[in-house]
Amino acid sequence: MPRRLLKFAVNSWLGRRHPEPRMFRAPERLKAGYEVVIIGGGGHGLAAAYYLARDHGIRDVVVIERGYLAGGNTARNTTIIRANYLTPEGVKFYDASMKLWRELSAELDFNLFYSPRGHLTLAHSDADLRTARWRAEVNKHFGVDSEVVDAGFVKKRVPEINLHCGGLTPIVGALYHAPGAIARHDAVAWGYARGADQLGVEIHQDTEVLGIDVVGGAVTGVRTSRGHIATKRVLCAVAGRTPAILEMIGLDSPLAIHPLQAMVSEPLKPWLDPIIVSSSLHAYVSQSARGELVMGASLDPHELHSTRSTLDFAEGLAANMLNLFPFLSEVKVNRQWAGMADMTPDFTPIMGVTPCEGFFLDAGWGTWGFKATPISGKTMSHTVATGANHPLIESFSLARFARLELTGEKGAAAVGH
């Protein structure tokens, strides 16, 4: 028996505490005040905490989480990482994120299972091909590896695919994005949490925000279920709960909350290397490190604040999956779940300063939040530290709506366009 295992057994037998250090500390009580309060212990909030401490020397930071760490959309997304968006603002932003992703496992000294697979957006019609060409040209202009490929290329990369696709929607080509990748979502949040904790950031789970104190248009504190916190700076990174937080300080936004469902199959031997997306069929699929097929579709059509799953969704998605991969008819679905996507009218996030002084917003992450985790942490930490929007997020501000300067990011996933 390995010595380490023996040590665990002896300690356990003696009724001692687990001898290994935990990923992060669990302080018993909140301090009376912090320099920065981050609401939301998901990937975005934890990344912002990490970069605030590492890049800006602000270590008097607390991350408060209503539930448990990374139990919201960080745990509920389909972990696809890519930069082949449509607008210049989007492409530059997500490409900066991909550059961080590549170094992240080494940086956090934690295996994130970051796995570049290649990303195929299938085209089923001339219209699809035209959009693919458009995206490829915008991507290439900004140095992102992206090209239009024919059906033969698709078949070569994924021999199991049925190009005929049920007869109604044959595959005629695809947009191929070689750097497209997947990563282990929990590991990302835990890696950032540990990194932030080691730099002095406090993480408090099971701590709900009840109110935010604003005096003379500026934040002065946060009321929580575990006591009051005095602070002049608050970063809100709570995805589907954003409207409730904004209501506390009387800010309006165009956010609408829709459930986004997903499901996984039972584990299979590795057979699917690239990530497959079909906007026409409203389906996307990749094979995770443990062999499960991770599958998603489009948003639920009407607003709802719930993470319930529906049979209608599973049936509809399964039908489209079988068109792409008929042999999956023998494969069982293992789990199904939903997350609450905070949708904006232009499929672009809302980031940066707000009319309320000291209140910073990281929201509107709809169906595109996971891949942005590192860059959102990086740019939001800069924004919180300096009080001015990072140049990369200038066009993502809340103020764009009042000026009618919407972005129109039609390269977003899980949305019909």
Binding site: P243, S253, I257, R308, A402
Partner: protein, 89 residues
């Protein structure tokens, strides 16, 4: 599949309906400021609560009002728009 009671057609499957969003009073486009108009155009109140919404039964092209809890997805009441007092219709 979930059933919704259409005031005109009775209980029908959810698939036959589309949601037209919350019932809201439109500001007068001739007299409202740009700011008020833009806010009405883009901003939404998406806090979880019971609210009145426009719904359409698509096969019959019939629009009506539903009172729905956006936390539980329960349809509490559905009625014809003509029965809605101050619906902003």
């Amino acid at each position: 599949m979930k059933l919704i009671t259409c005031p005109l057609n009775g209980p029908r499957p959810l698939l036959e309906f589309v949601c037209g969003g919350e019932v809201r009073a439109m500001p007068d486009p001739d007299t409202s400021s740009d700011g008020v108009w833009t806010a009405w155009l883009l901003n939404r109140n998406s806090v979880a609560r019971v609210r009145r919404e426009w719904w359409c039964h698509t096969p019959s092209g019939y629009w009506f009002i539903a009172e729905r809890d956006t936390a539980s997805d329960d349809f509490l009441k559905t009625y014809d728009a003509a029965d809605a007092v101050g619906a902003g219709a």
